[in-house]
Amino acid sequence: MNAPVTSFDAVSVTLLPPVARFNLRIDPKDLSAAASAFGLTLPTKIGEGAQNGDRAAYCMGPDEWLLHAAESDQQAIVSAFDKVRATTPHSLVVISDRELTLSIKGPAAAELLSVGCPIDLSRLPIGGAKRTVFDYAQVVLIRDAEEAFRLEVWRSYMPHVQGILEIATREFAAGY
């Protein structure tokens, strides 16, 4: 699962190991309840992220967050949110298996992504994330460092996205 899909000096594209992934919908005024259940203060501005160890939260919409955690913590997190549901209405959906994550790293990472992403990647802050499109497939794009991105892609779109990234990487390697 961890073998490089394709790489050359300037950029590598790698399929990452699975993580526990959740979609959380909750009233922003109840965020403290979610923070105590998840063990991490959730960011409040769309596009922002927060991270602590293997827990991460990204604000996707006015009342929507994407949560990441270690795969082995999935059930414990579901139980923790179950406990606050009676007093704090919310929806927590496990979406771990819905998506696969690609790591895209290297000096040409942003340029490679620009093959399919219409947004201005220079404006995506480090540590932030954004739902957007990659050649018409809806994706979540996370920026971990200046030259390191993660691309979360729904399983059924993955062959399409991977295929484009492979072709583009070959073109980059050939000097186009």
Binding site: G61, P62, P118, I119, K130, R131, T132, V133, Y136, Q138
Partner: protein, 99 residues
């Protein structure tokens, strides 16, 4: 490509992230059964189809997911402003004065 400002994300983003959703500020009748067939037809199908400034719904479908409203000039395709769902249609004279 058009760039559209999402009032929820407070960011100006490519059209590819958005979906058009028809004319804005069309209020569903409180009691449809009290309407004549002609009034119901008008509610369902009859739109202003303006040449000029058009108030219309958009959805940031590949982003925050929210519906919002926009004023767009149907002649030039220029977006004059966007505003959150539920807010009143902005006053055009104020917009022009601000420019």
């Amino acid at each position: 490509m058009l760039l559209i400002h999402c009032p929820y994300c407070d960011d100006t983003l490519p059209e590819l992230e958005f979906a058009y959703a028809g004319e804005a500020h069309i209020v569903r009748p409180e009691d449809p059964s009290k309407l004549s067939d002609e009034e119901w037809r008008d509610f369902l199908f009859i739109r202003t189809n303006v040449k000029g400034v058009h108030a219309e719904r958009w959805r940031h479908i590949n982003g925050c997911g929210r519906f919002f409203n926009a004023l767009r000039d149907t002649v030039s395709d220029r977006f004059l402003t966007t505003y959150k769902a539920g807010e009143a249609r902005p006053d055009m004279t104020q917009l022009e004065a601000a420019e």
